[in-house]
Each structure stands twice: as structure tokens, then as C-alpha cells.
């Protein structure tokens, strides 16, 4: 029985990782080797694929843009999400429930639904083709899920810490910065990890809100490259480009996968 289970799991593992391993191997092959067979191993390691991806397809630029947009979105998100989650989880005020419900309803809004009105509105206010506004849209879109995670976490922090801080005469603001922020670090970290993948991978909004090549993020750049290669057929450079995008993802996943899967089950269980 154990053997049978292991065989099933190994086949599944092959299906899950095959495409990734094949991609990494193909990134070092020549174009002819890629066309010949999906099994073969490259004769020599062609690092020139990576040079071509960087120089001719401006992958380097796309990656920098992606890092910039991801980083900026994250800063904006944290500025917006931490105070609101604190207020929602700790203070009882009029409209608290309504506010909470508005954000939870937002969980059902997919970015694809609103990309047209967003595009039209931002066109009117000349906010298109601008990485700052794109980042702010990302941060706004990430609010419902982040508020959901963080309010849940903050409710589990014991109140005594804040109360003694108030008795010491600290203001609400000071208490938030010096008491709550350090205590909520694990929750904030979960928010950062989840949203890193969301921001780094986002495609639909970046596609319509950014138009000039030098401002595009990596998913849009790759999709364009894919279109170009259908005619130019420099597959090797495309695969090298894919590897470059995967590197930050895989690194972060290797470092955080335990936290990620724990955070998921934490959120999932509470529903």
C-alpha cells in the first residue's frame, strides 16, 4: 500500500516539476537542440541565451520595473493596511461592521472585472502609463485580503500590552508604532509574502494601464516576447527570460514556503 502511494506521488511530482526542469534545461540549449527533442541535454551550456534575453529583449529593464512596482506597492499597502486593521480589530466605533463588510465584499472583486472603468477613469486624470499609480492600484486591490489576514492576527494580540502603554501616557499613535507594530510582525510578514507573489505576477492591469515599453513589468514583457518569438523563433532566449523571472519567485518560495502554507491554512480555517 505504501509503495502504491509513493508511486502515485512520484508520478504527480513529475507532472508538477517537469515543466520547470525542462524550462531550465531549455534555457541552456541552442534553438536547434530545442526543436529536436524535449528530452535531450544541451551539449554545451549556452549562456549567450541569457545575454540575448537581457540585451535584445530588454529583460533587465522589465525586471527592474517589476522590482520597483512590487516594492512601491508593498510600501503603499502597508501604510494603508496596518492602521485600518488596527482600528478595525481594536476599536469599537460606529460603522465598524459596515466598513469590515465593505472590505470583505471586496474579496469577490477580481481585477479583471474593473480594468475597463479603471482604464477610462485613469485616462481622464492622466494617470495612465505611470508606475506610481499602477502601484497604488495594486495596493488598493490587495486591501481586502490583507485586511482579512491582519485583523485576524491583531485580534489575537493580548490587550494588556496596549493598556499598560496607555497608562504610561503614550498616545494612540505612539502605541501603534512602538507596541502593536512589533507584536504584529508575524502577521505583517504573512501579508508581505502573499502579496509579493500577487504583485510580482500581476498581468491584466499592467497590460492595460502601462503602454510604453520602458515602463512594462516582467509578465507583460514576457507575453510580448512570446508574441515576437512566434515569428522570430528565438525560443532559447525566451526560456532564458522565463528562468530570470522565476529566480526571485523560487528563492522567496524556498525561504518562506512553510510560512506561506501555514498562513494559508490559518486564513482558510477561519473562512
Amino acid at each position: 500500500m505504501r509503495i502504491f502511494l509513493r508511486v502515485v506521488l512520484l508520478i504527480a511530482t513529475f507532472i508538477f516539476v517537469y515543466s520547470l526542469i525542462w524550462n531550465i534545461i531549455a534555457a541552456f540549449k541552442t534553438n536547434t537542440e530545442i526543436m529536436e527533442s524535449p528530452w535531450s541535454i544541451p551539449e554545451v551550456l549556452n549562456f549567450s541565451n541569457f545575454t540575448r534575453a537581457f540585451v535584445e529583449s530588454s529583460m533587465g529593464e522589465f525586471i527592474l520595473n517589476s522590482f520597483f512596482v512590487t516594492g512601491l506597492s508593498m510600501c503603499l499597502l502597508l501604510l494603508l493596511v496596518v492602521p485600518t486593521s488596527y482600528a478595525l480589530s481594536r476599536f469599537d466605533f460606529k460603522g465598524r461592521k459596515l466598513l469590515h463588510n465593505i472590505y470583505m465584499g471586496g474579496l469577490f472583486i477580481q481585477p479583471v472585472y474593473i480594468m475597463i472603468p479603471l482604464f477610462l477613469m485613469m485616462n481622464n486624470f492622466h494617470m495612465l502609463d505611470n508606475r506610481f499609480w499602477l502601484s497604488l492600484v495594486y495596493a488598493a486591490g490587495a486591501l481586502p485580503f490583507s485586511i482579512y489576514l491582519l485583523t485576524g492576527f491583531m485580534r489575537s494580540i493580548p490587550r494588556e500590552y496596549e493598556e499598560s502603554s496607555y497608562i504610561d501616557g503614550s498616545s494612540y499613535f505612539r502605541t501603534l508604532i512602538s507596541i502593536i507594530l512589533p507584536l504584529a510582525r508575524p502577521g505583517i510578514l504573512t501579508v508581505i509574502i502573499f502579496n509579493f507573489f500577487t504583485f510580482w505576477n500581476e498581468y491584466a492591469l499592467a497590460l492595460v494601464l502601462i503602454s510604453s515599453d520602458e515602463k512594462k513589468t516582467i509578465p507583460v514583457g514576457l507575453a510580448n516576447l512570446m508574441e515576437v518569438q512566434k515569428f522570430a523563433t528565438d525560443w532559447a532566449a525566451l526560456f532564458a527570460g522565463l528562468v530570470l523571472v522565476l529566480l526571485p519567485t523560487i528563492t522567496l518560495y524556498a525561504l518562506t514556503q512553510k510560512k506561506l502554507t501555514e498562513g494559508l491554512s490559518m486564513g482558510g480555517l477561519k473562512g
Binding site: R2, L5, R6, V8, L9, A12, I15, F16, V17, Y18, S19, L20, W22, N23, E36, P38, L80, V81, P83, T84, A87, F91, F93, I102, Y103, F108, Q110, V112, Y113, I114, M115, I116, P117, L118, L120, L136, V137, A139, A140, L143, Y166, S171, Y172, F173, N201, V208, V220, L222, M226, W235, L242, V245, Y253, L260, T261, L264, S265, G268, L269, G271
Partner: protein
């Protein structure tokens, strides 16, 4: 501390966030519904109120009906397969007593953190008629007649895309179920097996009922998740082809808006997709309602 500073602090915490959220999320959502009642073409061009004309036209639009059918197919088939497979994998990992459990969990979860664009490109090559692995394996097994252009034929393209969506999401839901299963007291199973219940009976009589609330939520999650990923995969892998056989409602919406500048018409499509996904969620919620265990 006094009331005034408390109120000031709360307002400072919630108002800026609510303002940004209202401008970039809530307002566009209301616009989708409002603008779907207008005929608007092009930028700053004339907008005329036409009531429900867009919707009437949509239901005579062959391409739209085809795309709605495809979306519906994916919203029913993909969550069902995901649910089935992820429950099986989660039970194997939870009850298999395998030492390498955490390794498998890490590997199976991996596709769900990849960019949809990357997934779309990789699978385009896996399905490639000449250099793809699938046809290579079929030829190796001597089944040349089955080696077709998976994304190029209208009979296979939708299933091919559905398979990618399953591949992407199975690990994600598996992790959710796994956490629940690991929390079930093992004594329940011991008692059941003493009473003569086999593994399958234990699965349906103990595991499923205990996980029921998580399952209900994940069904709704996966129905809604289908919309987003199908949009990107179709755009990258087939652009809706061949001959609209893989067109989904949201890619058709995108085309109407950004290729034909038919914004009002496109937003009517968004309204219908939104309504369909809400209705499906409600139906699934209703069907899975049970007396508490």
C-alpha cells in the same frame, strides 16, 4: 484618554485607506454597472444612454454566447476536478505516514505561486505539436494517431486549458484541506475501523463531514478563481482561437474594449460574468448546505 483624540485617531486610521479603496475599487465597480447602460465608443466620444440595449445585443451575439458557454464549462469542470484531486492528495499525505510529506506539500503547492503568464508560456510548449512533451510521449508509446495539435483543434483546446488550470490550483487547495485533515482526532478513525468501516467509508463518513465548511468555502473560491486565470491563459496561449473555440467571456470583453473601443458593450459583458459568478456561488452555497454535524 479623552474622546476627541480617540475619534481623531480612528479617523486618521480608516479615512485615507477608505478613500483610496473607494476611488480605485468601489467607484470602478459602480461604473461597470452604470456604463453598461450606455453606448460608448472611443475616447471622450459621445455616450448615449441606451438602457438594456447592450444586453439585448449580447444575447444575439454568437461569439459572446460561445464565450459564455466556454466560461461556464470551465467554471463547472475545473473546480470539480480540483476538488476531487486535491482531496485525494491531501488524504494521501495526511494519512499515508510518509516521512517526505513536507517535501511533497512544497512541490505540489509550487505551481500556485507562479505567474499565470509563465504558466501559459510553459504549457504552450508542453502542448506544442512538434517539440512538446505530450506528443513525444504518445509517439514513444506508439500512439501517433493521438498526437494532435492540442491548442490548435477546437475539440481539444478547452480541455487543454482546463487541465492547466487544474495543474495550477490543485496544490493550493490540497494545502488548505491538509491543515484541516491533520487536525482531525485520530481516535475517530481507530474507533471506525474497529467497527469495521473501510478506508473509503471512513473518508466519506468522517473526513468529508469534518472538512465540510472548508470545502464549501473553497468551492466558491475556485469558481471565482477560474475567471482570473482563464483570462490570462487564454490571452497568452490561444488568443481565443481557433475560431473562438477557447474564447472566454472576459477575453471577449477585453477584445471589445481595447481592440474595438466598444466600452459600454464590454462592461455589459463584465456585468453578466459578475452576475453568473455570484449566482453560481449562491447555488453552490445552497447545494452544500447541511445540518451541522
Amino acid at each position: 484618554m479623552n474622546r476627541k483624540s480617540r475619534t481623531a485617531f480612528i479617523l486618521l486610521c480608516i479615512v485615507p485607506t477608505l478613500f483610496i479603496f473607494s476611488v480605485f475599487i468601489v467607484y470602478p465597480v459602480t461604473q461597470v454597472f452604470y456604463k453598461s447602460l450606455f453606448s460608448s465608443s472611443g475616447f471622450g466620444g459621445g455616450e448615449t444612454f441606451i438602457g438594456l440595449e447592450n444586453f439585448k445585443e449580447l444575447f444575439t451575439d454568437e461569439v459572446f454566447l460561445q464565450s459564455l458557454k466556454n466560461t461556464g464549462f470551465l467554471m463547472l469542470v475545473v473546480p470539480a476536478i480540483i476538488l476531487f484531486l486535491s482531496l485525494i492528495f491531501a488524504s494521501i499525505l495526511s494519512f499515508g505516514n510518509l516521512r517526505e510529506k513536507h517535501l511533497y506539500r512544497m512541490i505540489f503547492f509550487f505551481p500556485s505561486i507562479l505567474s499565470f503568464v509563465v504558466i501559459g508560456i510553459l504549457w504552450t510548449f508542453i502542448y506544442h505539436p512538434n517539440m512538446g512533451i505530450i506528443n513525444e510521449v504518445l509517439k514513444w508509446m506508439g500512439m501517433n494517431q493521438f498526437a494532435v495539435a492540442w491548442l490548435g483543434s477546437k475539440d481539444t483546446v478547452l480541455w487543454a486549458i482546463a487541465l492547466v488550470m487544474v495543474w495550477q490550483a490543485v496544490g493550493y487547495y490540497m494545502v488548505m484541506y491538509l491543515a484541516g485533515m491533520d487536525g482531525v482526532p485520530r481516535e475517530l478513525y481507530e474507533a471506525a475501523s474497529i467497527d469495521g468501516a473501510n478506508v473509503v467509508q471512513q473518508f466519506f463518513k468522517i473526513t468529508i463531514p469534518i472538512l465540510w465548511e472548508i470545502i464549501r468555502i473553497t468551492i466558491i473560491f475556485s469558481i471565482n478563481g477560474v475567471l482570473n486565470i482563464s483570462f490570462v491563459l487564454v490571452l497568452v496561449m490561444t488568443a481565443g482561437g481557433p475560431n473562438n473555440a477557447s474564447q472566454v467571456a472576459l477575453t471577449y470583453m477585453y477584445k471589445q474594449a481595447f481592440v474595438n473601443a466598444n466600452f459600454g458593450y464590454a462592461m455589459a459583458i463584465a456585468v453578466i460574468v459578475f452576475t453568473v459568478s455570484i449566482i453560481l456561488s449562491l447555488i453552490s452555497n445552497r447545494l452544500t448546505e447541511r445540518e451541522s454535524y
